[in-house]
């Protein structure tokens, strides 16, 4: 019955000739609202619109992405991806990382497709969005629980990496989605960090401060924030470095290191690296404080590594002071000496 309907629509469309630009919104609305074969037919209608690429570009280039506009703009983005890069569609037809014949050959034979989906690049954003919003349920029916969870996880990783405007809304929804696999939720939170906008940090902060959220998700917010090169992100992480909960404190220490990573800042370009130096210095001194306050080997080791990751000279003097401070426990002084050695090595490396 459904097939016959599609046939009829198709015949009518052909008989009427290509849809005109003014028909686009209606076709996009059908695409937004339909599922399954009806969705595919609606997408086909959209792609049949005359000058569809130009029209979609015009719509999207000036669009303001909000919660309200998200659904409309998302389908427009999907349609544009199909119009501009139809060759990429087939790469999502069979995702090797969730195909048992492929992933069981791996040395660690579990489903995983984040890397594979990232290889689609920015041009793949619309296709990723399509799977995330429109076709996931159909796909999941033929996948094991582990495979569908891996797909969900891979989608948010790859979509966030594209920095597409839709990514924020998808990551936010997945991060908050209690029926989503935990792995996908964790990666969605880190994805918000990859997106790195002020709203993304606000959402990260909101999840962290929501005591009803699982501890694992709240810790993931620190990993997400570590990717955002801003003073607000540093402030957010710093608060957790001072808490009493050891798991959160440890995660904050590692996140301070990641945030202050000299290589990370350098990757953002020379001017960002210069701007980042002051923030890195703050992170470095906070890490020395965290080392001084650390009461376990686990925390001390995390701080030593993080200090060497930041590789900032600002840590040197406080570390020297800490290493000589006889009022401190021997374990602290020893750790400070180790951190100093590691810091010097890291700084020398960076200077090469």
């Amino acid at each position: 019955m459904r097939a016959r309907s599609i046939f009829v629509v198709a015949v009518l469309a052909c008989a009427a000739g290509p849809l005109q630009a003014q028909d686009l919104e209606g076709a996009l609305a059908r695409m937004r609202d339909k599922t399954g074969d009806d969705y595919v037919a609606a997408r086909k209608d959209v792609l049949a619109v005359k000058d569809v690429k130009t029209t979609l570009h015009a719509k999207l280039d000036t669009a303001s992405w909000t919660e309200d506009s998200f659904s409309d703009l998302a389908v427009a983005s999907i349609a544009l991806a199909h119009a501009e890069h139809p060759e990429l569609a087939s790469r999502l037809d069979k995702i090797e990382g969730i195909t048992p014949e492929h992933y069981t050959k791996r040395r660690h034979p579990v489903p995983e497709c984040g890397r594979e989906l990232q290889q689609l690049g920015k041009d793949g954003a619309g296709f990723l969005l399509e799977v995330a919003l429109k076709t996931f349920a159909d796909r999941a029916r033929s996948l094991s629980t582990q495979e569908s969870a891996a797909l969900r996880e891979g989608l948010v990783i790859a979509l966030a990496a594209t920095q597409h405007p839709s990514a924020f809304f998808v990551c936010k929804k997945v991060a908050r989605g209690t029926s989503e696999p935990e792995g996908a939720r964790l990666q969605a939170i880190e994805g918000l960090g990859t997106i790195g906008t002020a709203p993304a940090l606000a959402e990260i902060t909101a999840i962290h401060d929501d005591a009803t959220q699982p501890a694992s998700l709240r810790l993931a917010t620190l990993r997400g924030a570590a990717r955002i090169p801003s003073s607000d992100a540093l402030s957010f992480i710093s608060k957790s470095a001072g808490v009493s909960d050891e798991a959160e404190k440890r995660q904050a220490i590692v996140a301070l290191g990641t945030f202050g990573s000299s290589w990370g800042w350098k990757a953002r370009g020379a001017s960002m690296a210069e701007q980042g130096s002051a923030l890195r210095a703050k992170a470095a001194t906070q890490l020395v404080e965290a080392l001084g306050a650390a009461t376990t080997d686990s925390l001390r080791q995390a701080a030593i590594e993080a200090i060497s990751v930041v590789a900032h000279d600002a840590a040197r003097a406080p570390l020297e002071k800490l290493a000589k401070d006889e009022t401190r426990p021997a374990a602290t002084r020893t750790a400070a000496k180790q951190a100093l050695d590691r810091l010097n090595t890291a700084i020398q490396r960076d200077a090469r």
Binding site: Q119, Q251, T258, G264
Partner: protein, 616 residues
Amino acid sequence: MTSVIRRVGFSISLAALGLLWGCSHGGNSSGGGASLAPTSSATTTGTTPTTSTTTTAPFSTVSPVARLYADVNRDGVIDGNDDAGRDTWTSSRGAIFVYNNDDDDGKHAIDCSDSIINGPMDPRTDTVIVAGQYTGGTPQSVTLSIAPATAPVRIFLRDANGNYGEFLSPGSLSGNINVSQITQQPVTMLLEGTGPRATGWDGTITVTLTINDTQTTTDTLMLREAPLIYTDNTRPAVRVYAMDITDPSSSPNQPFWTVLSSGLLQQNVPLQNVDQNTYQFDRWVQDGMQLGYNAYVGPNGYTWIDDFNQLERSPNQGGLWDLVPNELLSHNQGETYAGSSQVQDSPNYGGNLEVFPPHTDPTGVVWPFGRIYHGGGDAGSIGGSQYSRHMNPEEVALLEAQGMQSPTIEISTEWLDVGHVDEISMVVNDPNKTNGRPWKLLWSSPTLGIQALTNLNNAGHGSATVFTGQTEQTTVSAILGNATLMQFNQGVQARMDSNKQILMNALGLQASDFIEVPVVYTTISNGGVDYGVAYNPGVQNCIPVNDTLYVPDPYGPTDPATGKDVWQTQVVNAVQPLGLTVVFVDVYTSYHQLEGEAHCGSNVRYQPYDMPWWSK
């Protein structure tokens, strides 16, 4: 282990004694049984005679009191020289037995798994014990006992008709020897180990003969089981195992196989093909087994059984599970299995079990058989997700119990998706002894990898392609501009530095013992955790065969100034001073894209250590 017994004026093998004593050996009397072959045909693979100059000392196997005989001085001969100290065990004296884990009758099960003598070749891996003929009277009872009773040993006893049958099964405390038999002739027994050394048991047993006559007399032998010893990569290579994958739909490895087979041919090292169809294209030959040996004294001196330690792998990966029992287990090739109480994670695989060569540690302790290291840890991911991953505790317990190459060392690899030490390090020879030490550790360095890219970028070649022609193809500037990737790699470098410190402290290694090679890592997410995996083919994950390294082609960018791959150049510059030859092998699609490299897809049987373990 068949020994030769020397009597006054002549020496003779156990097999010959069997004939003299009317022996027609049988695992059971009804089955026709096996017969012992002449000792010469039981010669094994050993090549290093150690005590061949022993002077024969006269002795008698007739005694008025309880008396046991064995090869106490480890010269392959039972004679008067074995008298002293037979009830103790030291590095210089004390009888030895071996875990009889090879398969001499081709039934694809280890010989000690049943209660029979497994063919004419089997007794060479059993230890001869002789209870002297008792001439002190007619005793009420004669008892042979073993301590500890839980020791995994079995004793076969040759009856008056010359047939061998199980006398004491594993776990049996004691058994009675027929009085009429022992009063008429010496009683010959064969002792086999039925399990390896285990936690709480260092391999030592005592065998006590008690004769209850008008007076009770006893005699005790102390014996010790050979440990399983695993070889390091610097030993001479005996054989290489890998899978020749030709099926186009199974990520074939012809570029790798062709170069490897050709190179090994030139090196005169056999390459054994692990059949792709039989083993279901399970290419991770490194992971299913760890190769070593258990050594004993044969008639010709120091010898051994090659040991294939079968390692538990995950439920998804089973193709190679049959390789050891179905193909490798055979005469002189044994199988060990530590057992498992849990679903396996990849840290239990063979790629996560490597051996440091013999050395002296900073405290002055000599490690004549080196020291085992493996990966794992509690620190969790580079990004801070905290969790623990370790090698299977049963496997670690087995390694520790051998007492030769342990305590084992654990370094942090839990941050890697697979989690193996061969993803970050590899022991190699240093024939030039560049800093005095004849071996070095190849050591993954994200710093080096990124430094090479930075140099290219600074020279205006940021658009140079990396991983050219592969699905991951990208550019120098794209890699360097990926802040998340760079953050991750700096975190990896910090963790690698922590690992380096662990090894410096434990082994006394210096900075110059670490040969850094360029490896950049990327992330792979499982369950929301960002694990690490080599981004470029991990060049440290090579196959060391004597002084040649088969190194994964890193697929780095080409430096227009030299026309050479910058990562290859770094590898060659790092390794050549050692006097090693580098052969690059293309493993990109066949192994690297599947989370492994050259070492992961191969295994090498190396020659056992020259020094007998009992000398330690």
